[in-house]
């Protein structure tokens, strides 16, 4: 029973991180209809920046803030410089472009920081809570992870639903022509969408970093599971991304705890296939006609 509770709590905290990555992918998909395969390497890069700051004497908070800020800037630059020219090209071209970007950023990180993985500090204690004499695997740092992800998801929801910028961003994403006629700077909104998404990704990177050693390729599995979570929830739906992330986090935690970690990729595949066979556009997609 303790094991079940441990696995559940662990699943919630890893699920929160998957949810953040999935949110990053969903935000970009909504604004530009591109699956950003470079997201994993972008959040790797920003985590390395945070690590460099902390290693040179900065506090955790400074590293955290700089990671998010550099994620924001990186996302904006990537959208403006590299992605803009292929936004109207066939989607496969955008896929290849983001793959190229992924490769380039991984190589750059290797050049700057080397390929040997290094550790990253946690924000809070990694010693589990003690309840009634048994020590749980859930730690204060896990609480921090869950709360931060909830806060960011809530902030994004408020931004999109209740602010003028959010309305303009939704307009630019869903009806660019009409939005442009109404005076929305569509290009700028798309850039902002990428910047926010990359910032959410950077957050996921900093949060997951203490539990993986950070190296140029160590965040690749995170991107894959984040993408699966986003597809699971429905790529157009931010709530879907959060639910998809949590569902995957819990399911993979149980599989890895009871059956062994080698089955995790297979379990992710099975879950995704079962869900997509029942709902081909994810759990939270609105049913709509498909343009042919």
């Amino acid at each position: 029973m303790t094991k079940f509770i441990d696995l559940t709590l662990n699943g919630i905290s890893t699920g929160a991180i998957y949810a953040a990555v999935a949110l990053a992918l969903v935000l970009i998909w909504r604004s530009t209809r591109i699956v950003n395969f470079a997201q994993g390497s972008m959040l790797m890069f920003t985590t390395f920046i945070a690590s460099a700051i902390i290693n040179s004497g900065g506090s955790y908070v400074e590293g955290f803030v700089v990671a998010l800020a550099s994620g924001f800037v990186l996302g904006a630059i990537v959208e403006r410089v590299v992605v803009r020219p292929v936004e109207n090209a066939p989607p496969l071209n955008a896929v290849i472009l983001t793959l190229g970007l992924y490769t380039l950023i991984v190589a750059l990180a290797g050049m700057i920081w080397g390929n040997i993985p290094r550790s990253f500090p946690a924000a809070f204690s990694l010693r589990g809570y003690t309840v009634g004499g048994t020590t749980l695997l859930f730690t204060p740092n896990d609480t921090f992870i869950v709360l931060v992800v909830i806060a960011v998801a809530a902030a994004l929801a408020v931004l999109f639903r209740f602010t003028s910028v959010g309305l303009r961003m939704r307009g630019a994403a869903f009806a660019p022509e009409i939005a442009r006629l109404l005076g929305v700077r569509v290009g700028r909104m798309l850039t902002l969408g990428w910047a926010l998404a990359a910032m959410t990704g950077a957050l996921a990177g900093v949060l997951v970093a203490p539990s993986v050693f950070i190296g140029p390729n160590s965040f690749d599995p995170l991107l894959i599971i984040g993408f699966v979570a986003a597809v699971l929830g429905g790529l157009d739906s931010p709530p879907g991304a959060v639910v998809g992330g949590l569902v995957l986090g819990l399911a993979l935690s149980y599989v890895s705890g009871y059956e062994g970690s080698s089955l995790v990729p297979l379990a992710a595949l099975v879950i995704l296939v079962v869900v997509l066979m029942i709902r081909p556009t994810g759990l939270f997609s609105a049913t709509k006609e498909r343009r042919v």
Binding site: P85, P90, P91, V95, L97, G100, T103, G110, F227, L266
Partner: protein
């Protein structure tokens, strides 16, 4: 697809493809006799990449589906080959046939599932497939050899070729024979009614369904054929490298395959040749280039990867329709009268923009409706 006034041999797809295969085969035969052992190995790897890329380009270009999971089908082919060739002592060609059949059999249910999915959902599912399937090798270590994989004996050249016949040349022959078979089959399939029905499904699913095509079945067929090609490629890879292990089929392989297809030129078999050549030669070139400077270890180890990334980005910005699209554009600029040869490679650009909802209706760069050469062909095709 009717073409006006050509010699009789060009009228028959079968004869035309046979001629093509014979000519290419003779050229390859001459080349392998001249090549060094190293060049022959490169040719062999180019040939097995071609098998996979050709299957994938038909899937993505003709049928309009994308797959990020073809590395997994290569793994199926490679493991089938290894189990039969080494453990069961089958000879090379029956084992390769079995590799194709195994990949085909797995490709059918995967294709049936894939035919329900579109765009990024299909990408996500096939991505999970590419990551999930190789995990089976870890789960059943007694059968699949776990992390170490299965080692295979090198294929032995038959005795009638002489006792000194180099192994590498024999491997190149096997791989090239596989590539030629794939070329022959896919050329005929894409030029047959099946290929036309794929393009119909790709361009307008509803219209195709109204015209009586079973859309799901057509897509499943395309997926299965393309999986079978990948299985052959994987079997050949195992035969040439004498190893089938999980490390040979990482997710990067699947992504690299897709890259090769798009950079080569989507939907064109010639594009698959360009893509295969690129996959074999580019890593060598970038390594040589990086080693020609004296740099610190960190930089020199990562420079080839960086160059590869830059090549991908620049290629997509400069040549959105791939190398073959660029070649065709140049040919068209030189001789404006020449129609684009089959139209296949220029069409996918359109289907993908059309498939993808309202946000993407911008300028489809090579869409036939907006493109000079394709329009020419449309006019020609309508003449009796």
């Amino acid at each position: 697809m009717t073409r006006a006034r050509r010699p009789a041999i060009f009228e028959s797809t079968l004869l035309r493809s046979l001629g093509l295969v014979v000519i290419v085969g003779l050229v390859l035969l001459l080349l392998t006799n001249q090549f060094s052992a190293y060049r022959n190995l490169q040719l062999a790897s180019g040939a097995y990449y071609f098998c996979v890329l050709a299957g994938l380009t038909v899937l993505a270009g003709s049928s309009g589906q994308i797959s990020l999971g073809h590395g997994a089908f290569m793994a199926v082919g490679a493991y089938t080959f290894a189990l039969l060739n080494f453990n069961e002592a089958w000879s090379v060609f029956p084992a390769l046939t079995a590799a194709v059949v195994a990949a085909l059999l797995i490709g059918i249910p995967v294709g049936a599932a894939a035919s329900r999915l579109r765009g990024p959902y299909l990408a996500g599912a096939t991505l999970a497939f590419a990551v999930g399937l190789p995990a089976l090798a870890d789960k059943f270590p007694s059968l699949f050899g776990g992390e170490n994989g299965l080692a295979i004996n090198p294929p032995i050249p038959p005795t009638w070729l002489g006792s000194n016949f180099p192994l590498e040349r024999w491997e190149a022959w096997i791989a090239c024979a596989g590539a030629l078979i794939v070329l022959f089959v896919l050329y005929n399939v894409t030029h047959s009614g099946i290929g036309r029905s794929w393009r119909a499904v790709r361009d307008d699913e509803i219209a195709a369904a109204l015209a009586g095509l079973r859309v799901g079945r057509r897509q499943t067929l395309a997926f299965a054929i393309s999986a079978a090609c990948a299985g052959l490629g994987g079997g050949l890879l195992a035969a040439v490298t004498q190893l089938a292990d999980p490390g040979s089929f990482p997710l990067q392989l699947s992504l690299t395959l897709l890259t090769g297809v798009v950079i080569g030129g989507l939907g064109s078999l010639v594009g698959a040749v360009w893509g295969a050549a690129l996959l074999v030669l580019l890593p060598n070139w970038t390594n040589d280039l990086a080693n020609s400077f004296s740099l610190s270890t960190n930089v020199s180890h990562n420079l080839p990867i960086a160059i590869y990334g830059i090549v991908l980005i620049v290629a997509m910005l400069v040549w959105p329709s791939g190398i073959q699209g660029g070649v065709r554009a140049i040919a068209h600029a030189v001789r404006p009268g020449t129609p684009s040869r089959t139209g296949q490679a220029t069409e996918p650009a359109k289907d993908e923009s059309a498939k993808d909802g309202p946000a993407k209706d911008g300028p489809a760069k090579d869409g036939p409706a907006k493109d000079g050469p394709a329009k020419d062909e449309g006019v020609k095709a309508s003449q009796p």
